[in-house]
Amino acid sequence: MTNTEKRTTFWERNRKSGGYLLRKRIWAWTFSIARGILLFGLCFMIVQPLLQKVSVSFMTQNDLYDKSITSIPRHFSTQAFSSAWIVLEKWVAFGNSLWLSAAVGLLQVLSCTLVGYGFARYKFPGKKLLFGCVILMLIVPPSTIITPLYMNFRNFFGTGLNLSKTGIPYLIMCATCSGYKAGLYIYMMRQHFRNEPKELEEAAYVDGCGRLRTFFQILLPGAIPMMVSVFLFAFVWQWTDTVYSRVFYPTADWKLVANRLANSGVLYDGTQKQLYGNLYQTPLIFQNQVQAAATLLVLAPLLIIYVVAQKSFVESVSQSGIKG
């Protein structure tokens, strides 16, 4: 009974409104269909290279030459992955990258949190100038300072210590807020502390809490989500960085996934040459297949992190964007 009433009422209401309701309904439908198509198309465009890599890296080498196979391999094989695993030095490169990225992320978070808090809550002479320096740090292209940095680390600020082949210089840089994209992290942390209510600290001070204790006991717990996302950004960007690591760690000594991945084609060729002799030239198509598989392997941990911590990635950026 109520159903029929409703059905009739829609058309009645439509007639009463002079066809406005129907037009509105149709417009809403077409709009959402168009939006769906557009969003799907663009999503597909972003994901497509990944899917392509997945399909290519599961093919056997015969399938690669078969023009009739474009996306779904006819003969499944994990050969490319095992080659890529060898190119990436099995667990060695992953282990190195893992501890380096974790250490870099941790140091960057700790130093940038302190500095961000200082910028957000304390007034001191020259603060604006210093914050200008943070912005300067953001916009200086790495290529401008990388050669002098390398020189300084070969002869550590005149002390004669050669640190260029150890990981120490880069860790020092991270601990003093001048690692990769540190300016951005300082900015994010500052933005976070600025949004915290001031009453929180005032109450702590009134209750006789010192400055350090206020920071560590009152403000730090609230900042942990932001710190986690800064850590994640630092981790991800260090994991894929090839610029700093190429300068501070010569590839021969330091096996990092990003470096191995960037040269994966050549490295694969090298392993094949060991097998078949120096005259053997690995076809480019095989090199590319191994590269695709290696990309997937390197990307896998990041994708897992992203899926687990997507909220923290997005929220940190949106929080620091407000009142930019």
Binding site: M45, Q52, C133, P141, P148, N152, L299, V314
Partner: protein
Amino acid sequence: MSKNVNDSELRADENLEQAAETTESVLDDLVTTAPNPEGTRKSKQRNLARGNAIAGFLFVLPFIIGFLAFLAYPLFQSIRMSMSSVNVKSFTFTHIGIFNKNSNYYYIFFRDSKFIEKAVDELKRVALFVPGILVFSFFMAVLLNQEFKGRALVRSIYFLPVILAAGAFLGLESNNPLISNVKDMVKAENGAAAITKTLENILLSGETGNTFFQYVIDLVGRVYDIAMSSGIQIIVFLSGLQTIPPSMYEAAKMEGCTAWESFWKITFPLIGSMIMVNIVYTMVDFFTRTDSQLMDYISYVMTTEFDYGRVAAMSWAYFLVVGLFLALVFAIFSRRVYYYD
């Protein structure tokens, strides 16, 4: 007595002004003015301010050290390098200067045909991409801000480039002929390319506005690159959109505002500060990218010709131009941004 008090207050004022200049004087003042019997609430406040200033300095100290040691000093060195010829083995500099025919700057601007060409290409690329990325990310943010099924999934796919477009992954796509071959094949078979090609021909056959159409067509052709570098920008715009109170739109609708009007009168002005943030972020992102042709050229000179002086000169020339551009953009846009508070 009262005069004395006034005097001491005056002195304290002066002290405060001096304290505002350097840290060392802050420390001195702490010692000299701390035992102040007439010191009432005011001097206590001053002490607090001084203590805060010192604490602030201590908090920021890691950055100051890092900035001086790993940014300011290397920058200074690289200026020196750019003005001299560098002996690679001993890392000693021989001063040349800027305005003579032997200098590195003279070389890169008047003898090196590649540098100018690549730098101009890079600037053109930025000029092409920045408006494209802004429009695309704003459009996507408006779409993703609406309610529909599967929004969370779609959002997470759009933010994926934040990870995918980083460091080592950037250069791999275009260098991988296997994957681009497949792309070309798919394009040719679908005929999708043909439709856009026809459209392009029709649009370009007109008499006027050809350069504009060419520009738009260029952008559409690179929509993948644009989408890959606008992850952060979409998030920033989205968060900006979410801060606009819905009651504003409701009020506008009551007054008879159409969606188009409320977009231009409410959304656009209120998102102004985000546009500013995104312009600066995108420009900085592009200029500091390591996968550009110019950076490749610079690292090529560095690793094969070992001419570090020339490398420094190239980076500095490029950095100055970039800084100029950023300052220009900042000057133009920062005045027009409207802050709603």
